[in-house]
């Protein structure tokens, strides 16, 4: 499994975190993810996720002029988005801890003894 594939499952949470740091737009989100070492094979895959988040009311958007062309869509978290980000943070900490333990091998002996 590549990093890009693993990122897919947690992309929504990562986007929530990026948008949570201040109003931003599509390309900039990809750049910021990249700065954290989260690179994607298909950068366009953020847009279907952003669409869904918008429909679920996690983000709100506003169109503003950009240096490139006529309009650019900026994203901001809603109150529901903030809540979801907190929930994601909790789930991620549990998950990361559990996977970390599994990979370190701690706890393995106890499981065997219980049998």
């Amino acid at each position: 499994m590549t990093t890009s594939q693993m990122l897919k499952g947690v992309l929504e949470g990562c986007l929530l975190a990026i948008i949570g740091r201040g109003e931003t737009y599509g390309y900039e989100m990809v750049e910021k993810l990249g700065e954290y070492g989260l690179t994607m094979v298909s950068e366009g895959s953020i847009y279907p996720v952003l669409l869904r988040m918008q429909k679920e009311g996690l983000v709100m958007t506003v169109m503003r002029p950009s240096p490139n062309g006529p309009k650019r869509k900026y994203y901001r978290l809603t109150a529901a988005g903030e809540e979801e980000l907190e929930a994601f943070r909790d789930r991620w900490n549990v998950m990361a801890g559990a996977v970390g333990n599994l990979l370190e091998g701690s706890g393995k002996d106890e499981v065997v003894e219980e049998k």
Binding site: M40, L51, S66
Partner: protein, 254 residues
């Protein structure tokens, strides 16, 4: 900032693909604008559209399709135009030949053929959007499909007239009325769709036939029938491919 030809084509393909999946027009515009902005940023850094789609444009389009709302209501507004032009296509040819009549098999066969043709065109547009088609491929697919649809209509017309008797046969006045009403129907449908195709295709299909049949060319009936059987279809194929090239040029020069 102007996008490269390849990027412009990609955006056009995204629009085409999402439109043929019956997505909401406003949502399509929003997504297309975001992708345009993203592509402009990529190109400024010397990157290409591959960064957006990754390995598989097909998978990327499918993922967009999945997240977007269907809006079949948007398509419903085309139904009256479709019915009008459809009926006019079926009626005008026989009326020009002075033998407009109706039988039961036609009443059933034409809608069935119409549905088949729509499904085929939709499939072609989607395939075209997913794979980057060459002009040659576009020519053969577009030309071939338009010929096939005309042949299907003629097939129903011929087969039904061999099998059963009509319940209505038009006289001289009746045929003239059918021609005029059909022409008006084409014009109305063209206005509703905002497309010249509903004027240019009927003209290509029916004008040569009318000219050949009504002009004293000094040709035998057999020679005339041969010309009538071939020339309109070539004319239609030319009109359709010319339109497709024109659309592509418009995209490239936008």
């Amino acid at each position: 900032m102007k996008l490269s030809k390849r990027s412009e084509e990609f955006i056009a393909n995204v629009r085409m693909y999402l439109m043929t999946s019956g997505k909401n027009e406003r949502e399509i515009d929003e997504v297309a604008e975001e992708l345009e902005d993203h592509l402009a940023e990529l190109e400024r850094r010397g990157e290409s559209v591959d960064r957006i789609t990754g390995d598989s444009p097909k998978e990327y389009l499918a993922s967009l399709e999945q997240e977007m709302d269907n809006d079949y209501g948007g398509w419903l507004k085309y139904v009256p135009a479709f019915l009008l032009s459809f009926a006019a296509f079926a009626a005008m040819g026989p009326a020009i030949r002075g033998m407009f009549s109706l039988n039961l098999l036609q009443l059933i066969g034409y809608p069935v053929v119409g549905a088949i043709v729509i499904v085929l065109y939709r499939a072609m547009f989607r395939k075209m959007a997913v794979g980057q088609w060459s002009n040659k491929k576009l020519f053969f697919a577009g030309g071939g499909l338009s010929m096939l649809s005309v042949l299907l209509f003629v097939g129903v017309l011929l087969a039904s007239s061999f099998i059963m008797d009509p319940f209505y046969t038009a006289g001289r006045t009746g045929n003239l009325v059918v021609i005029l009403v059909s022409a008006a129907a084409f014009a109305a449908a063209a206005m509703m769709m905002g497309s010249w195709l509903l004027i240019t295709i009927p003209v290509a299909l029916f004008l040569p036939e009318w000219l050949i049949l009504s002009m004293p060319l000094g040709l035998g009936d057999e020679a005339k029938m041969m010309m009538v059987a071939i020339i309109p279809y070539i004319a239609v194929a030319l009109v359709v491919t010319a339109q497709l090239f024109y659309e592509k040029r418009k995209i490239n020069h936008a």
